[in-house]
Structures are given as C-alpha cells and as structure tokens.
Symmetry: C2
C-alpha cells in the first residue's frame, strides 16, 4: 500500500460530534499525530498505533507526516475542528508544494468552531457572513483590520476566531469600537468560550453592553448584521426573505 | 415531557458524515419533518416515527413543528448541512419571536456545504473568508453584489452558495467578472457540484479559464484570495505566517 496522509477533523471536542468518516480514517492510520487534546478525545481508537503527541509546530507535523508517508505508511494528523479552517491543511499542502513532493493527501472535514458556536447561540449565521482570525502570526494587522472594516461596511455578519492571540485585548478592542461605530451599539453579539468543555460559557448581548473581559483566548465571537435581533438568550439573524414567499 | 423542537443538521449527504449527536436527536424525536433527500438519508432511524416529507416552505415547517411541540411532542426538523447556515434555523426562531412563543429549541450542528467542499478542493479556506448566497429570494441584488465586491476588495476568500438560484447565470457572471477585475485572472477558483452524490464533480481552475457553464444550481463556488495557489488539482490558500515561526 502506498503511503498517504489523512488530515482528520474531529469537530469541536465532543465525542458525539465525531463523524464515522473521521473514525474510519483513524482506523486506517498506522501512525497518528496530534496535540494532546485531540488524541485524548479519541484515545480508545488509538490502541496499537504509533501515536505522536509531542509539541510540534504545524510545519514540523507536516514534515514528520510526509517523511512517514513517503516510507509507505498511512499517517493521520488529528485536528480539533476542521483541518482546512485555521488549522493544518494549508501548512501541509504548502509544504508539499514548495518541495514539489507528490504525497496522497485526503482531508476529512469536521465541524469548525463557527458551526458549533452558531448552533449554541441561536441562528446568528442566518445570512451572509465573514470569518476572520486575529491570531498574531497572521497577516499584518492593517490587513486584518481592513478585512474586518470591509465586512462591517458590507453588512456581513462577522465571525472572529482567536480574538486575543498573544497580544491580548488591543486588537479585538479596536474591532469592537469599529463595530459600534459602523454597525450600531444595539447590534447583537455572541460569545462562545471553552467550546465543548465542561466550562463552556455563552454570552449573548449587544455591542453597548459588551464587557471586553468576557472575550477570552478561546472565545469565538459573532457580531450580528443589521438584521440580527435577540430573542431570549438567542441571536436571530432575520432573513431578508419575504414571509409571504414562505421564507 | 415538555415539547421541544430539534433542528438536526445531517451534513452534506454522506451517511458517514452524520454525527452521533444528530442520530440521538432523531432517536428522541417522535415526529420528524424533512425534505425527501434528508429523510431518505436516515430512513433506517425513522421506523415507528411520524414522518412528514410533503413539500412545505420553511415557514410552514416551522408552524407545523411549533404546533406539534406545543402539544408536548419532541419534533425533529432535518436539514442537509447545518440548520443555521442558509437553512431553517433563522426562519423558525423568527417565527417564534414574531409570535412571542416560548418553545424549547435545540440546534444540532452539521457540516455545512462549505466545510465539505473545502476538504474536497484542497485547502481553499486556509485564510479569512466570506460566505454569500445568490439565492434569488435573498436581499436585493445590490446588497449581495456590494457584499461580494467588499469581500473581493478586502482580499477575503469568497465562498458562494446557490450561484444560480432561479435567475440563471446572470448574477454569478457579474460576480465572476468583478472577481477577474478586482483579484486577477490567474486567481484560483474551485467548484464542487453535486456534493455527496454519485455524480459529484470537482473543477479547480483559474478565473481566466473558468467555464461559466460548469457552475450549476447545486455548485458551491470558492474564489481564492491573493495568496491562493494551485498544486496539482488542489487549491492551497497560502498562509501569511512566517515559515520560520513553524507555521
């Protein structure tokens, strides 16, 4: 059997959100690479496999998986969430592309954090939306801020991953100030912190009542658009459809 | 037991992408409402349940589910994909909100089409992205086009659901022309048609080589950003991280 790399998305971290497809990919993998929170989630499926959980950067994980796959092994790299959304897929494919290596790669999708948070916060993604990450190592801050501002100007619902990164509140504060200015203080905003953990917390409020300290490093932020309303503790992105059309 | 509505996301249409959580919600539901493609997908789990598959609009499905839940039943509404992303969740919550009805609602997330397509096309969502729908009943065309243009100007990867709607190619052609002008003819673009069906088709090309006829009513379109490249038949959204940081 030729070697192959499986990038396996496990979803938000609840066992009941793991797909049969992901478990099949794990079953096929002889070697499994993943951070401890990922391998812990599926440890019962890892017996008799070589499991590597040491702290490796995405490039190091890609290099290791490539080396083992090139030897002919089936190698699985586990991701919480979806491997292709703020995770390892681009790193691995860029690694292979840069070196012109031909290794078979299959990506097993999982629910990304925005999918999970959307379901917990009501229906905040009921319209068009933009997704950005404030992770510090990403593009220059000017580019990130420009994307956030354009999304706010375009009346897109705005999803923000990694709101603190390693620089703390500075960036998210600027974006929240822009949101208040461009979209209005009464705009609903939802925060999901500690997704799929026992300490998971949900905050649904409006921009004027937002407490910046409620945004933690593992918070997913969703800023509503101009048609988003609150109902109880839920965000409802009203759809611009005509109700006489049945929508 | 009080009544409750479960909005159950089944993912793209492959049985192996259905989560245990979704199956649990189906198991609990006494009444299951869904379009034929959804009920067909899980028919083995529907024995002894009241199953309603007649052609109903989202508002009609919401009204029916609300009526039955108010009688005390556990009612499941099935969605292909994710109930909160271009699906029924906002319709139902808006329905309840408008009438000030208090019904317990739980949303079970599933993989949305963009998650599935991203995994099939390589790593096209490796950076910040925007998601829009060209469905005809949505907001005024001017608003949709404005969102698409702002996304293109902001160098966001652009995901397009429902590219044809009922008006055909007119709208998507305009957006593709804008993309060529604002982003460049060599920008990679990926099309996934017939997701999770035996006739699933993938096209990965560049804007200048795009054949508009390859975009069908059930195509999911992903337009790369300025850092998206091709590798073989895969889209790779290069991450702006510094490789010396290990990303």
């Amino acid at each position: 059997m030729n070697g192959k790399i499986w990038l396996i998305g496990l979803g938000p971290g609840h066992p009941e959100c793991i797909t049969p497809q992901a478990l099949s990919a794990i079953a096929v993998s002889r070697i499994v690479i993943g951070q401890p929170e990922a391998t812990r989630l599926v440890y019962t499926y890892l017996a008799s496999k070589e499991v590597i959980t040491s702290a490796l950067s995405p490039v190091e994980r890609s290099a290791l998986a490539t080396a083992r796959a090139t030897e002919g092994h089936q190698v699985g790299i586990l991701s919480i969430g979806h491997p292709g959304i703020y995770a390892i897929a681009s790193t691995l494919l860029a690694y292979l592309r840069r070196r012109r290596l031909k290794v078979e790669v299959e990506i097993i999708p999982g629910m990304t954090l925005a999918d999970y948070a959307a379901a917990r916060l009501g229906s905040p993604l009921g319209g068009d939306f933009a997704v950005i990450s404030l992770a510090d190592r990403a593009s220059r801050w000017a580019a990130i801020l420009n994307r956030a501002e354009k999304a706010l100007e375009a009346d897109l619902i705005l999803v923000i991953y990694n709101p603190l990164g390693k620089l703390g509140q500075r960036r998210i504060k600027i974006i929240m100030d822009r949101a208040r200015a461009l979209r209005g203080a009464t705009t609903p905003i939802g925060l999901l912190t500690g997704a799929a953990t026992p300490s998971e917390e949900i905050v649904v409020t409006t921009l004027e009542w937002l407490e910046l300290d409620d945004i933690k490093v593992d918070t997913l932020v969703i800023v509503g658009d101009s048609k988003t309303r609150l109902y109880g503790k839920k965000m409802v992105a009203l759809r611009p459809y005509s109700s006489r059309l049945g929508y």
